[in-house]
Symmetry: D2
Subunit: 303 residues, 4 copies
Amino acid sequence: MTSPPRFHGVWPAMLTPLDAAGEPNLAAVEQLVELFVDQGLGGLYILGSTGQWPLLRLKHRRAVAERAVRVAAGRIPIIVHVGAVTTEDAVALARHADSIGADAISSVAPIYFPTTVDATFEHYRKIGQATNLPLYVYHLSIVNQIGLGPREYARRVLELPNIAGMKFTDSNLHQLGLMVDEGGEQLQIFSGDDTLVCHAALSGAIGAIGTFYNVWGPAVQRARNAFIGGDFTAGRTFMSAFQNALADILAAQSTWTFLRAAMQLKYGIDVGMPQPPLGALDQPWSETDVQALLERVDAAAPA
Amino acid sequence: MTSPPRFHGVWPAMLTPLDAAGEPNLAAVEQLVELFVDQGLGGLYILGSTGQWPLLRLKHRRAVAERAVRVAAGRIPIIVHVGAVTTEDAVALARHADSIGADAISSVAPIYFPTTVDATFEHYRKIGQATNLPLYVYHLSIVNQIGLGPREYARRVLELPNIAGMKFTDSNLHQLGLMVDEGGEQLQIFSGDDTLVCHAALSGAIGAIGTFYNVWGPAVQRARNAFIGGDFTAGRTFMSAFQNALADILAAQSTWTFLRAAMQLKYGIDVGMPQPPLGALDQPWSETDVQALLERVDAAAPA
Amino acid sequence: MTSPPRFHGVWPAMLTPLDAAGEPNLAAVEQLVELFVDQGLGGLYILGSTGQWPLLRLKHRRAVAERAVRVAAGRIPIIVHVGAVTTEDAVALARHADSIGADAISSVAPIYFPTTVDATFEHYRKIGQATNLPLYVYHLSIVNQIGLGPREYARRVLELPNIAGMKFTDSNLHQLGLMVDEGGEQLQIFSGDDTLVCHAALSGAIGAIGTFYNVWGPAVQRARNAFIGGDFTAGRTFMSAFQNALADILAAQSTWTFLRAAMQLKYGIDVGMPQPPLGALDQPWSETDVQALLERVDAAAPA
Amino acid sequence: MTSPPRFHGVWPAMLTPLDAAGEPNLAAVEQLVELFVDQGLGGLYILGSTGQWPLLRLKHRRAVAERAVRVAAGRIPIIVHVGAVTTEDAVALARHADSIGADAISSVAPIYFPTTVDATFEHYRKIGQATNLPLYVYHLSIVNQIGLGPREYARRVLELPNIAGMKFTDSNLHQLGLMVDEGGEQLQIFSGDDTLVCHAALSGAIGAIGTFYNVWGPAVQRARNAFIGGDFTAGRTFMSAFQNALADILAAQSTWTFLRAAMQLKYGIDVGMPQPPLGALDQPWSETDVQALLERVDAAAPA
């Protein structure tokens, strides 16, 4: 592999729009990609957990990836999540992502069955070597469980074929910082906890991938840039508003109806609802409440 | 639903034999069913985690269920695990199980995405009402996390449509006992921790479902019966041997190669290997070691 | 050390009676010891957590130990818990226990500050070598956290000076069984989870130490003996009643007022209340409720 | 209570110097207080966990508090930790702190025995009402366990008598931010995780209390001030060096020997070693290694 491209900035963990029958709404996929290109965001992370990969058939995952990459047409980089239950499916999705011109691939660790660190790295290794695309692996929570230090873990990650970075979906920013320093230029670490996007920049995260950047990407991007540029107060003000808004949304246990209503209200895009059990008991939001949340967060971001 | 049948005894969480291409080996499925019928075990729990459901395509799950039920031909009861990532797939598998004549269905709680108790019960409810088959749900580890007492949890389980029982895959035998007493005749609780099979009987478990009963079903059944019948020493002697053997197997981090070698050596049935990442780094076992383990456990069971 | 005595059976983790001023009520200590001698229980474990050691001054711990050992006068064996925050205090208490003729000592692992396995064993080692009394250490929950297998842990315990056994305060009966088998004659393991007293016997526990044996010692002893002697139904019947009664008591979050009322009502002994914060918000129990609980459990034990 | 003073900035969780006999070295206490006054730090938090309160007799705790307050003589504010195993001891220590002119008191939640949220608040309430001093309670990890949201928890804290703030010893900066916003002017929240001192400022922490500020107080203070003042790079550079240095120290499992050597080498103050089991197995550090660590961190702080 030649040196991978340097990604950075705020990346939506893009929603996968579904129609009423639960199948991907490719027209809405196009709308989302165009929206994020227009907003000038850093890139798109598609078909991850927010993109509901475990709920989608493989053919639907391929269809969404193809449409997104074709529409983006190089205007915005795309990382395709190819993680799957079997190594074989993940490898096949990785090759597909390569064949359609994706910029990079990513994978979660093995799911469902208890696993070992070694088995996880073997899974990653097979995915990494399946193509020449840059590979972004997930941070493993197992790091916390078994006393494998974050720096030692980062060193093992660096040995993976075509490794380019990591999606750090954890709130432990000491670990994040240690991995960033251990990985140096070889490891581009994105933070994955929306509520700590600026904090993670302080630990050296090169960018941030998150669900709520579908809704508030530009505000987050402006706040993060201002903060990194030296405006501590802008960072503090925005994080306070953002943390409280997300706490309100999570407390309502109706995240999916919020996301749908917010995308509809703010951008006129219908992302639909995920397949049950996801969102099955979500309650509807009043337009007033959604509008108030949208404005609270946007108003807290610097101009 | 009329009153569900009373199941009991030792049930293998049946392995799903795969061929070299990773597809179900239906001839070996037949061999397994015949074996367990011949051994006089209590029943078969198929396509659960040991049966590798998350790694199998839906069509393969249907094919395995059909073959197993057809071969069993009423000689041994079969619970088909129909749990799936989407409620829709689980419901479809439940209807399929009904259509082929399965005796009951079972389902894990929703996987991968964080969920709530209410959303879990909604998932179960839709599966339960999809057919008239008796439903066996999993014990939720969430019971431990949120302070929902085991008795209150059992009461909620009892409200599910067509509920017949539970697979309690946990080591907390105080909780098991409380649920057994709360559920009474309405809730048939199987224990799911092989290492505590006799202990669970003491907490009132009606039966036991486990991976290692593929290998040692008759020995476990004799020991459990003797223990329940008043032979404390038989229970103690067998549990000691069984717990130590399972600890040895788990310590080797090569459970799948052990299972394959044991089934081959003892019964001449080739169950193959699961699809990676499962078992991908398992090391081979020497025939001598497998034989020694087989004999240690069998010798510890009463005649 | 010559071979330690073989302890066995049901041991109350004896309550430390306090007067209204919060000081030990030595007259009530005498009453408790006489009670348990009369009941023919296996022994007494004094000044443990149930005996509220962390809330007592060292001089009070010494006074209670002296009185209990003097009154017992060899009619019932006594293990004195000498665990303390500093190693120095624990060693001093161990020597004191030796000087007054206690039968054995016991110690919890270091408390409050995070520690390592090695530091814990060093703490135990200094306590063990301080006297010639048999030493009973606690099971370390750290065993579960760091992947030190139970058998390896048992081997390290066996290297401690004057080691005689272990108090296993955990619900994992697979671990208990593995340690029993690893320790053999050298390690007398008492179970410490009241709700699993018979289950633990099935994993080889030589005896049981628990809070509720202050109240129901004879009933537990009869049930445990009957169960070990081959009466499975007696074990099942008693464990069901006992588990449910303890769940009722714990659910009321008023364990200390229950213990006080039960000891008063059943035996006429006033054990007082522990020092706050322990029991500070416990609600009073009606005599009727306490009487009903007492009878439920006693009635479930074999004659 | 009149409005409590506004504390802020970097506060050492002051070490309690001990002599070779394990008794407080009051001369060294004086040296430490003078050092921190000279360094212009924000205040002193004495007799907390770093100050080894659980290992000290009450009379020694009083002696240390008296000496520290007398020497400080109003030149630097002092919070005296008065937490204890019994509520009675904590109340007595609170009154003592008041009598000697301490600026505020603080308390951990009840230790050792499992407790409830209500019992914890009752313990805090009695300590708070014992004097008119401002009270700083600990963040309860129970917040994470039982689903009591951080904002609801902050509201309950605000109802405590004389409440002034909180020591947040946790790495969850989303929770910290939510509590800061909920508490507003009424709740001064100090962060207690040294490795996240600047990150916590971004979540609104008014100051930071930590072990390693005994060694690097001025460097941390300069970095924190520069960061808050808009120098993101200064914050990032320092946090990187500080996080890595602390990871190196923690990996050596010899924190107490490091602290002793560092205080001796840098300031000529002998803080001695804590009482075992604390530090009992700590290995010695070479002067070269300690010097290198001292310089690495100091060099990373802005001038």
